[in-house]
């Protein structure tokens, strides 16, 4: 599947080629893996030391909250957001 990935603006400093990418993968984990091959500096900002999506990072597939194993249909949009954590 080929999907579009959108990253939050705060990660501008971590990317080489912008905040929007097209990558392939059958689920969110594979999509993020493809993203990290293009933008290796992003990995540490999205994945924690347990190999999970960071606690305060949200991933949506076509507007629905998703996890690493969530399937992604062809042409989907995977959006990464910063959670509203705090007061």
């Amino acid at each position: 599947m080929t999907v579009k990935v959108r990253l939050p603006r705060i990660l501008t400093q971590a990317v080489r080629d912008g905040l929007r990418h097209e990558v392939t993968g059958d689920d969110v984990g594979q999509v993020l893996h493809g993203l990290f091959e293009k933008e290796p500096g992003v990995r540490n900002h999205l994945i924690d030391e347990d190999g999970r999506i960071r606690t305060h990072v949200l991933v949506f597939v076509d507007g629905e909250r998703a996890g690493l194993s969530t399937p992604v249909p062809d042409g989907a949009e995977v959006q990464v957001l910063q959670a509203v954590s705090g007061g």
Binding site: I10, L11, Q13, P40, N44, H45, E49, H56, V57
Partner: protein
């Protein structure tokens, strides 16, 4: 021209002064904490950035204006149970770059910060299971090197020394009281809350230590420590800085553990010209208005040519260009300042 870089809780700033006229560029890395500023052996500028949401990153630059993030900052192995909370300090020994981090550990880089390797002899020290965090977390925040020797300060664990280039490490805290341990209890092996370290590069066994428990000095590479607080209004603080040209020591006393602001609101740098035997207020220019703010361990820098600067937790920048005789505070206000580097 004076050029000062400031790392704050919300980005970094570049302050330039020409003939008394000051300008500010920034923020760099908007929205990110800039927790440490440093230099690689090849002259590459380094900035450690951090976020409560997105973890840490290492940025590199040749000119302090155009930055590139490295692919992989120092990191703990996945599944190992440790979190990489913050990069606290950079240090280079002319060939190798070191980084101190929280959760506490040391990492080294032989390619000017692009990739990092853990210093296992310290990070997996036999006492590791007994390490406990201080108020600022469990952090390795100060690094000194001289030849094959290295020292690291970890809060609230203590000072470690390596005599074999970082392969093995030994605790060096004799003479310093542990934190929160009654006097009648046997001294623990760890639990010493070092805040800052400085040494004499010409005689590196002479080390000065701003500790949670006061100001201390060692003449034997850390084997033993003696208290040196004559003239200080308080032994508590974070900053210890040695001007390697004059030998002058600088510190900025704060009231106490529970009250981390200047005594009576009088923000002053104190200096010693006798290796810490006695201390007095550094020059003039200090505000008569109350200054209930703090100065953190990474927020003081100097160029060994008489110029020094420091930033406060209240976001003010102070500087002197005459070895501490006259100080001035810039009008500009910044977010909480964690790190300062005097670039030129």
């Amino acid at each position: 021209m004076t050029q000062i870089a400031i790392g704050t809780h919300k980005g970094a700033y570049l302050v330039e002064g020409i003939d008394g006229q000051w300008s500010v560029e920034g923020p760099l890395f908007p929205g990110w904490k800039v927790t440490a500023l440093g230099l690689a052996p090849d002259g590459t500028h380094l900035a450690a950035v951090g976020s409560n949401w997105f973890g840490v990153g290492i940025q590199t630059s040749g000119d302090f204006r155009i930055w590139e993030q490295t692919e992989s900052p120092p990191g703990w192995p996945e599944g190992g149970g440790r979190k990489m909370d913050q990069v606290w300090a950079f240090h280079h020994d002319g060939a190798r770059l070191w980084a101190g981090v929280a959760e506490a550990g040391l990492f080294t880089s032989d390619d000017h910060g692009r990739t990092w390797a853990p210093v296992d002899g310290l990070n997996e020290h036999i006492t590791r299971s007994e390490w406990l965090p201080g108020f600022g977390g469990l952090c390795a925040h100060r690094i000194l090197t001289a030849g094959n020797q290295a020292w690291v300060g970890i809060s609230a664990v203590g000072v470690f020394r390596s005599d074999d280039g970082g392969v093995t490490w030994h605790l060096k805290n004799d003479g310093v009281p542990p934190v929160g341990v009654p006097a009648d209890v046997p001294r623990p092996e760890v639990g010493y809350c070092v805040h800052g370290l400085a040494h004499d590069p010409e005689s590196p066994q002479r080390i000065w230590r701003q500790d949670h428990a006061g100001m201390f000095r060692s003449r034997d590479g850390g084997d033993t420590w003696e208290r040196i607080e004559s003239g200080l209004p308080s032994g508590f603080g974070f900053v210890i800085w040695r001007d390697d040209n004059s030998g002058r020591l600088f510190t900025i006393p704060l009231t106490s553990d529970e009250n981390r602001v200047p005594v009576d609101g009088e923000l002053r740098a104190y200096v010693s010209d006798d290796d810490g035997d006695s201390w007095l207020v550094s020059g003039s220019g200090w505000s008569d208005a109350p200054q209930y703010t703090g100065v953190l361990r990474g927020a003081f820098d100097g160029d060994n040519q008489g110029r020094f600067c420091f930033g406060t937790t209240g976001g003010k920048l102070w500087l002197t260009d005459d070895n501490g005789s006259a100080w001035q505070q810039l009008e500009a206000s910044f977010p909480r300042i964690d790190a300062v580097r005097l670039l030129r």
